[in-house]
Amino acid sequence: MRFLSSRRRSRAAKPLLLAFALFVTGALYAGFAPATQVSADAGTSALVAEGKALFQVSCSSCHGLNGEGTTQGPSLVGVGAAAVDFQVATGRMPMAHPGAQAPRKQNTFTEHEIAAMAAFVAALGPGPAIPEPPVYAPGNLDERAIARGGELFRTNCSACHNFEGGGGALPNGKYAPSLRGVEPIHIYEAMRTGPQQMPVFSAGAIPDAEAAAIIAYLEELHAQPSPGFTLGGLGPVSEGFFGWIIGVGGLCLIATWIASRGARAR
C-alpha cells in the first residue's frame, strides 16, 4: 500500500492506470460477452461482416443500417442470435407488410445466411444465443419428465396457445399461433426471446431441463393417434357445430326419407 501511495503521484501513474483499466474492462467484457464474441476469430468476424451486408440489404429498411431501429421496426440491439434465428427461420422476418403481427411464412434464406445475420445482430449486443441440440432435445427424458412437461405447458403456455398447442386469439387482431409442426429449436428460441405478445421465459423462470420437457411433451402429444377425426381440435365449438350438421342434419334427411315412404304392402 505504501508502495502504491508513494508512486501515486509519479508521472507514469496516469497512463499506466488508464492502460490497466482498459485491460480489466476488456478482460471482463471478454469473460461475460456471449460465446460468439469470445471466439471472435477471423472466421466469425467474416461471418459478421457477411451478415451485416445481408442485413443491410434485407432488413435495414425497417431496423436501420446498424440494427438501431426505425419507426418501421424495433431496435435489435441485445435481442440476441436466437431472436434472429427464430424470426427469420420461421419466415416472420423480413416482414412482408405491416400488420397486427408478422405471420409465419416460407423462409427464403439459407441456414448459412441466417447464421450470418444472427452473428451480426449478436455482435450488436449480448442476448440469448442459438441453442445446441442437447439443450432443447436431450433425448434422455423419461415419461414422468415428459408428463411434467405437459403440466408446465398447461401452466405457462396453454392460456394463449390452447391445451394442445392449437393456438388462440389475443386482443386487437393478434393471436398465439398453433404449435403443431413447429421445430423444437424454434420452440426453445420462442421461450427465450418472447416474440411480440409472448412473454420471455428466461432460464430463471423455466430452466433448460424444463424447457426440454415442454418441447418433448408437445412432440409426443402431436404424435398421439386420435380417436377419429379431431374436427379441427377446437374443442366444444366444433363439436357442437358437427353435432348439429351431422347429427341433426343427417337425421333430418333420413326422417324426410322415412316420412316420404308410404306403406306399400297395405
Binding site: I146, H161, P236
Partner: protein, 564 residues
C-alpha cells in the same frame, strides 16, 4: 313454372274417434298376449294405443330423435357408471396413458382416463354418450322450434308446451352436470364459470356458493354431488316428464298439417300398428346407428389432452358445450359493470348476462302460448297446424329470437372466429354488442316481409291459378302467359286457414256501470292485437275467386297480358 304448394300424402284416412277400427295385428300376439291380458288387461291398453294414428311429416320425427337419443344416453350412461368413480380424492396417476404418468389428479379424472384407455370399448361408449348428449339437446331445440313455428303449442297443448320447457331446462342441467364430472381442465373451467354465476346473485351468492361447493371453490364434494344430480335426480325427473309429455301427446292426439281430407276433428296418417311402429322402431336403430358412427369416427371431449383440473391453469378456447355457448357469449361481450352498495358487490357484468338472460329465455318460452292467446283473443282448439307464413308475426318473432340467440352464440366463440377468420377479437366483441340488439330487428322485418310475400303469392294462385309456362302470341302480336287452375286439394290447403281480425277494445262495464262477467278488452290489448295482425293479406273470398275464374276464362285476357 311456380311449384304447387305441397299437399300431403295419399295415406289412408283414419278417423281416430271411430270406435270400431280393429287392432287386428293383436291376434298375432295370442300366446303371451292372452297371458298378460288376463293379468293386466293388456288388450284394452293395447287396443287404445294401437288404434292411434300418427300423421306423416318429417318434422314430426324430431321429437322421436330426442326420445331415442335419450334412450341411448341411458344405455351408454349405465355402462359408464360401472367404472366411473365420482371422487375428488387426489391420487398419482399410474395408468396406461404415458403423458400423464406420475401427475397428481382427482380419482374422477383418473377413472375417466381408465375408461378411455383401459376399459375395452370404454372410449367408444364415452364418445357415443357425449355425442348423444349433444344430439339430444340439439334435436330438442329443433323439435321445440317446429312446435313453435307450426303453432302446435296452441290450445289444448299449452300444458304440454310447458312440460317441454321444463324438459329443456332440465336437459341443460343434465348436460352440464355430466360434462363436469370428468374433472378435467376444460370442465373445471366451466365449473368455475358457474361458480361465478352463482356468486353474482346479489346478497346470497356467496352463501349459495359455500352451500353448493361445500366450502370455497372447488371444494372436495362437488363431483360426488354432481354425480347424484347427473345420474339420479335429473334423469329421474326427465323420465317422469317425458312420460307426462308422451301421455299428453297420446291424449291430445298428434296435430297435422292442413290438407285435403284433414280437419280439426280427424287425424290422417298411418295406424300406430303396424306401419308406424315399424317406421318408428326402424328409426330408433337409425338414430342409434348414426350415434355409434359419430362416436366411432369423430373425437369428442379428449379429456386426456385437457389435463387434470388445476385452478391455476386455463386454456385458450375454453368453451362449454354448444347449449351453454350463448350464455358464455353474453358474458364475453357484456361491458364490465359493477356497483358497490352498502359494502356489498353487485356484479351486473355476470349477473345480467348469465342468470338474467337464462331466466328471460325460459320465462319467455313459458309464457308465450298464453301471451299469444291473449293478444289474438283466440280461444278455440287447434289440431291443424299453421303454415308458418299464415302467422307472420309469430314466425317473425321466432326468427328474431333465433337470431338473437345465434348472435350470443357466435359471441361465445369469438376467439375461434378471430383465429379461424383472421378477425380482431375486439372488433368482433364490439360488433356483437350491437348485433344482439339490431340483428333480431332486421330478422323480424325481413321474415315478416317474406311471410307476407308468400301469402300474396298464395292469394295469387288461388285467384288466377298457376303459371303454365306457356307463352302465347295472339294474332295482334300480344304475348300472354296462360294460367291453369290449381287442383281442389291445393286450393283447400291454401285457403283453409282462419282469417283472424284483431280484438277490439271494449269497456269492462255495461251501460249501467256494472262490470261484465268476462271483463272488457283493454286498449293496450287491442293495440297489441292490431299490431299482431297488421299487414296480413286477406285470403280471397268465395266471390272474389269466382269473379277471378270467370274473368280468367276469357282467353284473350287483355288485363292479364298487360299485367304480366
Amino acid at each position: 313454372m311456380a311449384k304447387p304448394a305441397k299437399i300431403t300424402s295419399s295415406s289412408p284416412v283414419l278417423e281416430t274417434r271411430r270406435p270400431d277400427v280393429e287392432a287386428d295385428g293383436l291376434a298375432r300376439f295370442a300366446g303371451v298376449g292372452s297371458f298378460l291380458d288376463d293379468r293386466v288387461g293388456l288388450a284394452k291398453i293395447a287396443r287404445f294405443g294401437l288404434r292411434k294414428v300418427f300423421p306423416d311429416h318429417w318434422s314430426f320425427l324430431l321429437g322421436e330423435i330426442v326420445l331415442y337419443s335419450f334412450i341411448v344416453l341411458l344405455i351408454t350412461g349405465v355402462f359408464l357408471t360401472i367404472w366411473f368413480r365420482p371422487s375428488m380424492m387426489e391420487l398419482e396417476y399410474e395408468g396406461t396413458y404415458q403423458l400423464m404418468r406420475g401427475l397428481p389428479m382427482s380419482e374422477a379424472y383418473a377413472s375417466t382416463l381408465a375408461i378411455s384407455f383401459d376399459v375395452r370399448g370404454g372410449l367408444l361408449v364415452r364418445q357415443i354418450h357425449h355425442w348423444a348428449a349433444i344430439l339430444f339437446i340439439a334435436a330438442m331445440t329443433a323439435h321445440m322450434l317446429r312446435v313453435f313455428f307450426t303453432g302446435a303449442f296452441r290450445k289444448p297443448r299449452e300444458l304440454n308446451w310447458l312440460v317441454g320447457v321444463g324438459l329443456l331446462s332440465l336437459s341443460l342441467i343434465a348436460g352440464f352436470s355430466g360434462y363436469s364430472l370428468p374433472d378435467d381442465l376444460l370442465s373445471g373451467t366451466g365449473l368455475r364459470f358457474v361458480d361465478g354465476l352463482i356468486r353474482s346473485i346479489p346478497i346470497v351468492g356467496t352463501w349459495l356458493e359455500f352451500f353448493i361447493f361445500n366450502g370455497e371453490f372447488p371444494g372436495d364434494a362437488l363431483i360426488a354431488r354432481l354425480y347424484m344430480v347427473h345420474i339420479l335426480l335429473v334423469p329421474g325427473i326427465l323420465l317422469a316428464l317425458i312420460g307426462a309429455h308422451l301421455t299428453m301427446l297420446v291424449y291430445h292426439k298428434h296435430t297435422q298439417f292442413p290438407g285435403p281430407g284433414r280437419t280439426e276433428s280427424n287425424v290422417v296418417g298411418y295406424p300406430l300398428f303396424p306401419v308406424y311402429m315399424a317406421k318408428a322402431g326402424g328409426f330408433f336403430f337409425v338414430v342409434f346407428g348414426v350415434l355409434i358412427l359419430m362416436g366411432a369416427t369423430m373425437q369428442i371431449n379428449p379429456v386426456w389432452a385437457y389435463g387434470p383440473y388445476n385452478p391455476a391453469q386455463v386454456t385458450a378456447g375454453s368453451q362449454p358445450d354448444w347449449y351453454m355457448g350463448w350464455v358464455e357469449g353474453a358474458i364475453r361481450i357484456m361491458p364490465n359493470w359493477e356497483s358497490h352498495i352498502l359494502g356489498t358487490t353487485w356484479s351486473w357484468n355476470v349477473f345480467l348476462p348469465g342468470v338474467g338472460l337464462m331466466g328471460l329465455l325460459f320465462t319467455a318460452l313459458g309464457v308465450y302460448p298464453f301471451v299469444e292467446a291473449w293478444i289474438t283473443g283466440d280461444k278455440s282448439e287447434h289440431h291443424l297446424l299453421d303454415r308458418p307464413r299464415n302467422a307472420p308475426t309469430r314466425t317473425a318473432l321466432g326468427v328474431a329470437g333465433m337470431t338473437c340467440y345465434g348472435m350470443f352464440w357466435l359471441a361465445g366463440g369469438n376467439d375461434i372466429l378471430a383465429t379461424q377468420f383472421h378477425l380482431s377479437l375486439n372488433a368482433i366483441t364490439y360488433f356483437m354488442r350491437v348485433a344482439v340488439f339490431v340483428a333480431p330487428v332486421i330478422a323480424f322485418i325481413v321474415t315478416k316481409r317474406i311471410c307476407l310475400a308468400l301469402q300474396r303469392s298464395d292469394r295469387e294462385r288461388l285467384l288466377h291459378g298457376s303459371e303454365s309456362g306457356i307463352i302465347e302470341r295472339s294474332p295482334e302480336g300480344r304475348y300472354s302467359e296462360a294460367h291453369v287452375p290449381i287442383s281442389h286439394g291445393e286450393a283447400w290447403t291454401l285457403s283453409q286457414h282462419k282469417q283472424y281480425s284483431p280484438v277490439e277494445a271494449t269497456p269492462g262495464v255495461d251501460a249501467n256501470g256494472v262490470p261484465l262477467p268476462g271483463g272488457g278488452v283493454s286498449r293496450r290489448r287491442a293495440l297489441w292485437s292490431r299490431r299482431f295482425f297488421r299487414h296480413d293479406i286477406p285470403k280471397p273470398t268465395r266471390a272474389e275467386i269466382e269473379e277471378a275464374h270467370s274473368h280468367d276464362s276469357h282467353a284473350d285476357d287483355d288485363v292479364k297480358a298487360l299485367e304480366h
